[in-house]
């Protein structure tokens, strides 16, 4: 557990600190592509955490938002011939639109039923994309989401270069971090906090609980859609698996591992998970046993997650 004063001072400058960290991060990683993956999944977990950590709503259908964004970006580029940055805009819009649709149904339910409705609707998105082969490529996924050169006017970036690709992705992640930090600091952020702390009191104070949840769901969709778009550009493909249940489960695991409800927890969780998986699977094909054990240990002994434990100490 760190000194609370120190933590408080850091919190005020968390975006600047985060950006500084993003700059040196790829140098610490075994290879650049995993650093990019950590950023992308971290952002995905960040979007998820807005609901789960901030409002306590456990969604099992976030893959639809992440995958929806990835497909939106890829389809905009391949089928509509739009430039890559328009692909990203489309992904954010589609992510929010899908969240608006799923949320409109799911927000009526609570607890475990919320998890199940989101899962069911996300499965429907998965099967639509599986069946609609002419548009999405079906089981084979979307290929040729190729971005090689980024023309900035003054100079041209080579997106295939590992480090350049990392910094382009990091740029968008930094923007997302900044936006999220503004949202949390805004009156809406206060409303979310109020709803989480005490729903009845929040309602009594005049907050519209359901509207708060719904809006948070939609914003969450925007962040996840952005993460999906970045993955599509990074891998140059959109696998059908981005929409699968397993991808919904993965983000839950990452959030919990990192520490739900904390600002950087999702990134820590994504990083630890992906590194663990990467290193252990080089060493044994039975990597899942270690991932599972780490997970069980985390639930039992570090319910606040890794980042939460560093900030606040153990406890439940």
């Amino acid at each position: 557990m760190l000194n609370p004063d120190f933590v408080a001072r850091c919190k005020q400058h968390r975006v600047i600190l985060a950006v500084a960290f993003l700059l040196i991060f790829p140098l610490l990683m075994p290879f650049k592509a995993i650093a990019v993956n950590i950023l992308i999944y971290g952002l995905y977990a960040l979007g998820f955490n807005m609901l789960f950590g901030t409002l306590g709503l456990l969604s099992f259908g976030h893959a639809a938002l992440f995958g929806g964004g990835a497909y939106a970006c890829g389809l905009a580029m391949i089928r509509l011939g739009l430039p890559w940055w328009m692909g990203i805009v489309c992904a954010v819009v589609i992510g929010m639109a899908l969240a608006a649709i799923i949320g409109a149904f799911a927000i009526r339910t609570r607890g475990i039923y919320f998890a199940m409705v989101t899962m069911a609707l996300a499965q429907c998105v998965y099967f639509i994309s599986d069946q609609w082969v002419s548009l999405t490529g079906g089981e084979n996924g979307l290929r040729d989401v190729t971005l090689t050169k980024i023309d900035l006017g003054i100079t041209t970036l080579n997106f295939v270069d590992p480090l350049t690709r990392y910094y382009v992705v990091a740029f968008f992640v930094a923007i997302a971090l900044f936006v999220l930090s503004r949202i949390l600091a805004s009156p809406f952020g206060a409303a979310m906090e109020a709803v989480r702390e005490n729903e009845a009191r929040a309602r009594a104070c005049g907050y519209d609980v359901r509207a708060t949840r719904y809006l948070a769901f939609i914003l969450s969709g925007g962040f996840c859609g952005l993460a999906g778009a970045l993955q599509a550009l990074h891998l140059s493909i959109v696998p059908l698996e981005t929409l699968a249940i397993a991808n919904s489960g993965l983000v839950v695991m990452m959030s919990l591992l990192g520490g739900m409800g904390t600002f950087f927890g999702p990134f820590v969780g994504a990083g630890v998970f992906l590194l663990l998986e990467n290193l252990v699977s080089l060493w044994t094909v039975h990597w899942q046993i270690f991932v599972g054990a780490a997970f069980v240990a985390c639930v039992l002994f570090f319910p606040r997650g890794i980042w939460g434990t560093i900030l606040l100490g153990r406890g439940r």
Partner: protein
């Protein structure tokens, strides 16, 4: 559509019931754990898979199939009790998220352990000799083993109902689910009740897996695909409701069978669409208590 006759429809209905019987057993266990312990068991599919492998292990030791039906659920139920005692017990009263996540991690460990000891490839599981072939059921020939599965499911449902409704132990379990505080004050060791319930729930999953093994063989991943389906069944029936588990299990089985007759490529999405519709009309499922865990 060509080739669809009333007999075929009836046969298809029966096929759906046999499929539904497996769902029912899974959903009963899951609903029991949720209703009594508020544990959403993500390792339920893994226990199902363990049941099939326990059968293979026992058959390998020369135990015959009929005793396997008894011993495999007992063995796996025992493993379930151990995991309750040493892992899940620490999480009661900490919301539904933690047991859910812990069992999620647990399923990874169980699946991988099976891969280490039994291989990744999956193993064949022959239908017991006495149940091979097809029987005449008036409307046509139907595989005898599937009739047997339906029969076992009916027996188990009856036994479970008698146990919960007609024995003193069942009374304690039901009381414990309603108000653990009072039961504790009455001097009953609630922890032991929870332990037994967990054993029964996971044992039922193991029985379902063992019954499914002659239909599809055993593989480490067999639980993963059926987990989502049994969630659907449990949720549609109403989490915590045993009657709901039975009704929804059979319904989902029949819905899958009928969609695969008329639009096979829609069979998979049909059950999720069904769940979405049911939950939107009746958010607590068919027989769920409104407001429970909401």
């Amino acid at each position: 559509m060509d080739g669809i006759t009333p007999d075929l429809l009836a046969l298809q209905l029966f096929t759906g019931l046999a499929l539904g019987a497996i769902y029912v057993l899974l959903a009963l266990g899951m609903s029991l754990l949720f209703g009594m312990l508020t544990v959403v068991n993500f390792a339920h599919g893994a226990f199902y898979m363990l049941g099939a492998y326990a059968g293979i292990l026992l058959l390998g030791f020369g135990v015959n199939f009929w005793f396997c039906l008894l011993f495999a659920p007992l063995l796996i139920g025992g493993i379930g009790m151990l995991s309750e005692r040493f892992l899940i017990r620490h999480l009661y009263g900490r919301g539904i998220d933690y047991p859910l996540l812990l069992t999620f991690g647990l399923s990874y460990i169980m699946v991988e352990t099976v891969r280490i000891f039994f291989g990744t490839q999956g193993l064949p599981f022959d239908t017991p000799d006495a149940l091979q072939g097809a029987s005449d059921i008036m409307i046509g020939y139907f595989p005898t083993y599937r009739l047997f599965v339906i029969g076992v499911a009916i027996l188990v449902i009856a036994a479970l109902w008698l146990f919960l409704e007609r024995t003193p132990y069942g009374l304690i379990i039901r009381a414990g689910a309603r108000d653990p505080q009072i039961v504790r004050i009455l001097g009953i060791d609630v922890a032991r009740v929870w332990l037994v319930v967990f054993g029964i729930g996971t044992g039922l999953a193991a029985l379902a897996g063992l019954l499914a093994a002659p239909l599809q063989g055993a593989s480490p991943e067999m639980g993963a695909s059926i987990l989502a389906e049994s969630f659907v069944v449990t949720v549609v029936g109403g989490m915590g409701s045993l009657v709901g588990a039975v009704v929804a299990g059979l319904l989902v089985g029949v819905v899958v069978a009928m969609t695969s007759l008329f639009a096979p490529e829609m069979a998979q999405v049909a059950i999720f669409a069904l769940m979405a519709i049911v939950l939107l009309i009746r958010p607590q499922g068919f027989f769920g208590r409104a407001g429970l865990m909401s």
